[in-house]
């Protein structure tokens, strides 16, 4: 209202004095002031609309992160825990199987050594008996060493959890990054709202979920996690082989 007061006063005075030119000029000024206020109002509405749209984009991303991806991440980390647990137990099982084999060989070797030392004494076992025990020992040592070799190979394979778990953890780290950016956007928008400023900026639209999913096929999704990744994923090597066979490989 204050904006119009000088122009209304000027028009009243021009009317009172019969100054038609002054009246027309005051009227033009009044009109100009009215347009100026309208423009400012439209700008405020546009600014609010832009902020609302930006907030909607950030909110949608946060809702998706909170409702789907964060719970998924929890399951993925639980799967990593399971992988490390399985690998540790498998490794310990195999080592526990190896220990008695090694102990038995050591015990038998010591026994044979004692027999050999005693062979010179009058009460010693005969060389034939000694040879028989040597043969039995060597057979036992051969099969025990083969079993230990196989166990050690499996211990090696069990360390694959580091790759599988590592891929899942990398995925969760990317999710945490995404969450951080979305929250930073939200804080920025809240700041923009409180200062009633115009324009919200480009944000982090370049890292939108749509972009990420379109490149996932090429870059890879990471290991399948039971309970989360199902339906379209194969269940094991036999499933892969069947699919490859269908495809002519």
């Amino acid at each position: 209202m204050q904006l119009y007061a000088p122009w209304v006063a000027a028009m009243t005075q021009a009317l009172a004095t019969g100054d038609s030119e002054g009246f027309a000029a005051a009227l033009a000024g009044f009109d100009s002031a009215r347009h100026c206020e309208l423009t400012m109002h439209v700008r405020r509405v546009a600014s609010g609309l832009q902020a609302a749209l930006e907030r909607f984009r950030v909110d949608s991303r946060l809702i998706d992160l909170a409702q789907r991806q964060v719970p998924d991440a929890r399951h993925r980390l639980a799967h990593v825990l399971q992988l490390t647990d399985d690998a540790a137990h498998r490794t310990m099982d195999l080592v526990e199987q190896c220990c008695p084999l090694a102990a038995k060989i050591a015990e038998q070797a010591e026994h044979l050594l004692n027999l050999q030392h005693a062979v010179a004494s009058p009460a010693a076992a005969s060389p034939t008996q000694l040879q028989g025990q040597f043969e039995a020992f060597l057979k036992q040592a051969g099969s025990s060493m083969a079993a230990m070799r196989s166990n050690l190979s499996e211990v090696l394979l069990a360390q694959g959890y580091q790759d599988l778990g590592g891929q899942i953890i990398r995925g969760v780290m990317a999710l945490v990054d995404e969450l951080e950016l979305a929250l930073a956007d939200l804080v920025r928008i809240a700041g923009a709202d409180s200062h009633d400023s115009v324009g919200v900026g480009a944000g982090v639209a370049g890292r939108s979920g749509a972009d990420a999913s379109s490149s996932s096929l090429t870059r890879g999704y990471g290991p399948a996690v039971p309970g989360i990744d199902h339906g379209l994923a194969v269940s094991g090597q036999a499933d892969v082989d069947a699919l490859l066979s269908d495809l002519g490989i």
Partner: protein, 129 residues
């Protein structure tokens, strides 16, 4: 038995490269080189004399699928046998790998027996072709 194949193993996890390399040694493959992604593997493949490529899929920079495509696009490497050894388990990915020209696909976690079976199968198909 000693096998005369020069093999390149590509995986971004050093533990997995060690596992594969050890298994290959057990299978008699003594000549095994390593790379940690497609970007480092490709120059090795172009300059080296490799007979077989084993690659992961999900790797930073150049993933395995892209490496496979680049290998097939290179006239000198186009016929190189490629075995994908990966945790990527989606059917569409396996189809994509086959369409890109992969010769075998092993899913992690895997066994030494599976690795041997797939290498033997690929080499047998090569010999018969």
């Amino acid at each position: 038995m000693q096998q005369n194949l020069n093999i390149l193993v590509v995986d971004d996890f050093s533990t997995m490269r060690r596992i594969i390399k050890n298994l290959l040694h057990d299978l008699g493959y003594a000549s095994v080189a390593e790379a940690d992604d497609g970007n480092t593997a490709l120059p090795l493949l172009k300059s080296g004399n490799f007979d077989f490529l084993i690659t992961d899929w999900n790797m930073p920079r150049m993933p395995g699928l892209e490496l496979l495509k680049q290998v097939r696009a290179d006239a000198r490497l186009a016929s190189l046998p490629v075995l994908m050894l990966t945790a990527e388990a989606k059917r569409e990915q396996i189809v994509e790998a086959v369409q890109a020209g992969v010769n075998g696909y092993v899913i992690k976690p895997f066994t030494g027996a599976t690795l041997k079976e797939k290498i033997d199968k690929i080499m047998a198909a090569r010999a018969a072709a």
